[in-house]
């Protein structure tokens, strides 16, 4: 943890992310042309879909890490911490997807919100992963928490393809996909398309940077917790008349016994 090389890589990632976002903002706000129908409103398109894409990506990472925890051969608490970290970043991006969508919807559609399938399933996605994070706060030992979170994370992920396909499967007010549409023919002009692509790349970099930081925090918190537990167990062991077997068989002690696995 915290090797110089790793820190340098993360710092470089942060600088590149800021630069890419800055270029996206400049292109999106000033350089790209207005849309023939939407006028200036089209500028929100350079940030709204990338937010949604990063949310999908983040939940994908959560699912992958959850599978790796559930699979006995790769089981390691670090996958659980990675899954949780990615889910939290995903929730931030889903929240921003909803906010930017709503801000665009008011002038374009005429409403801040409507209960169509795309909006409803996206709101559901947001709440499902908040639920995932809430579930993690329910007291449990590390392994129990990791297993139940992994299962919850995988169940919540079912909503991701539903969100993406909602505009195809149901009638919605929300438009269909511009780039990843069923015919795979992007319907967007060159300069606008390249700025949108840059937006996707820039916010993906931001996600990776955030994930690296969030994961480190989760790992450090786990270390603090382990250290505290170890100290507490030592104290209880030293208490007269208390057998060590009683302590080892209780709750979190199993995990604390193997701190290097965290």
């Amino acid at each position: 943890m915290g090797s110089k090389r790793y820190q340098r890589l993360r710092r470089a990632m942060g600088i590149v992310s800021v630069l890419l976002v800055a270029v996206t903002v400049v292109l999106g706000l000033w350089v790209t042309p207005p849309d023939v129908v939407q006028g200036q409103l089209v500028r929100l398109i350079y940030v709204h879909p990338p937010m949604a894409w990063v949310a999908y990506l983040a939940y994908g990472v959560t699912s992958l890490a959850s599978v790796l925890y559930l699979w006995r051969r790769t089981r390691n608490l670090r996958w659980d911490l990675l899954a949780a970290s990615s889910a939290e970043v995903g929730v931030i991006f889903t929240g921003l997807t909803l906010i930017t969508g709503s801000i665009w919807g008011r002038p374009a559609w005429g409403v801040w919100w409507t209960w169509d399938a795309r909006l409803t399933t996206t709101a559901l996605l947001f709440v499902l992963y908040i639920g995932y994070l809430a579930l993690r706060r329910i007291p449990a030992d590390s392994h129990q928490r990791a297993v139940r979170s992994a299962i919850a994370g995988l169940i919540a992920f079912i909503d991701v393809p539903i969100v993406h396909q909602s505009v195809v499967w149901w009638r919605t007010l929300h438009q269909g996909a511009t780039v990843l549409n069923p015919s795979l023919s992007p319907r967007i002009h060159g300069e606008m398309a390249s700025t949108l692509l840059l937006g996707f790349i820039a916010f993906t970099f931001v996600y990776v940077w955030m994930l690296l930081h969030r994961y480190q925090i989760a790992a450090l918190e786990q270390n603090v917790l382990d250290a505290e537990l170890e100290k507490l167990i030592q104290e209880r062991r030293n208490e007269p008349g208390l057998g060590s077997s009683q302590i080892e068989s209780s709750g979190d002690a199993n995990n604390v016994g193997q701190p290097s696995k965290v």
Binding site: G2, I45, L77, V111, R137, E230, L232
Partner: protein, 165 residues
């Protein structure tokens, strides 16, 4: 990307500060709060599923579909979708009158609300309202924007090989 957690700040090192010291055994209060938060989330999920099943599955009826089910719909409020017919828009004191079309079926609309910024001929709209005789009385117009983005000044835009789009 996944780094070792136990290196550097190994778990053998006791935390020396009172700051950021997590509680080892969660208090009952903390547990209660966590359960309450989860409860709220479950209620929110239930609410969204209810709204989703009630609204999203048949979010709108096309003008053609609505005319076909006219008798069944009666005075019921629903969402009607169609493309605004060019030349049919007349601004009234309270809103706008126009016609929408889908599959060559036309529906006359009397709207009593301000149309949104993008309301214009040839744009698909979703209207909230009900039929009164053969006129659809709408109290909300939502513009259904397409997924295509076209530069207002296409001459500025060039493709990779330099040709104008």
């Amino acid at each position: 990307m996944v780094q070792s957690v136990s290196g550097g700040t190994g778990s053998g090192q006791p935390a020396n500060s009172n700051k950021a010291k997590p509680r080892v055994l969660p208090s009952r209060r903390r547990a209660r709060r966590a359960w309450a938060a989860l409860g709220i989330v479950i209620v929110a999920i239930g609410f969204l599923l209810y709204k989703g099943l009630g609204n999203s599955l048949v979010y709108f009826r096309t003008a053609a579909g609505a005319v076909q089910d006219r008798a069944q719909l009666g005075n019921k409020t629903f969402r009607l979708e169609g493309v605004v017919v060019p030349g049919s828009i007349h601004t009234t004191g309270t809103g706008v009158d126009f016609s929408v079309e889908s599959s060559n079926v036309f529906v006359q609309v009397h709207d009593i609300a301000n149309p949104p910024q993008l309301f214009q001929p040839n744009i698909p709209v979703v209207l909230v309202g009900h039929f009164q005789q053969n006129i659809f009385l709408s109290n909300q117009i939502m513009v259904k924007h397409s997924a295509s983005y076209v530069a207002a000044h296409p001459d500025r835009v060039a493709t990779v090989n330099g040709k104008k789009l």
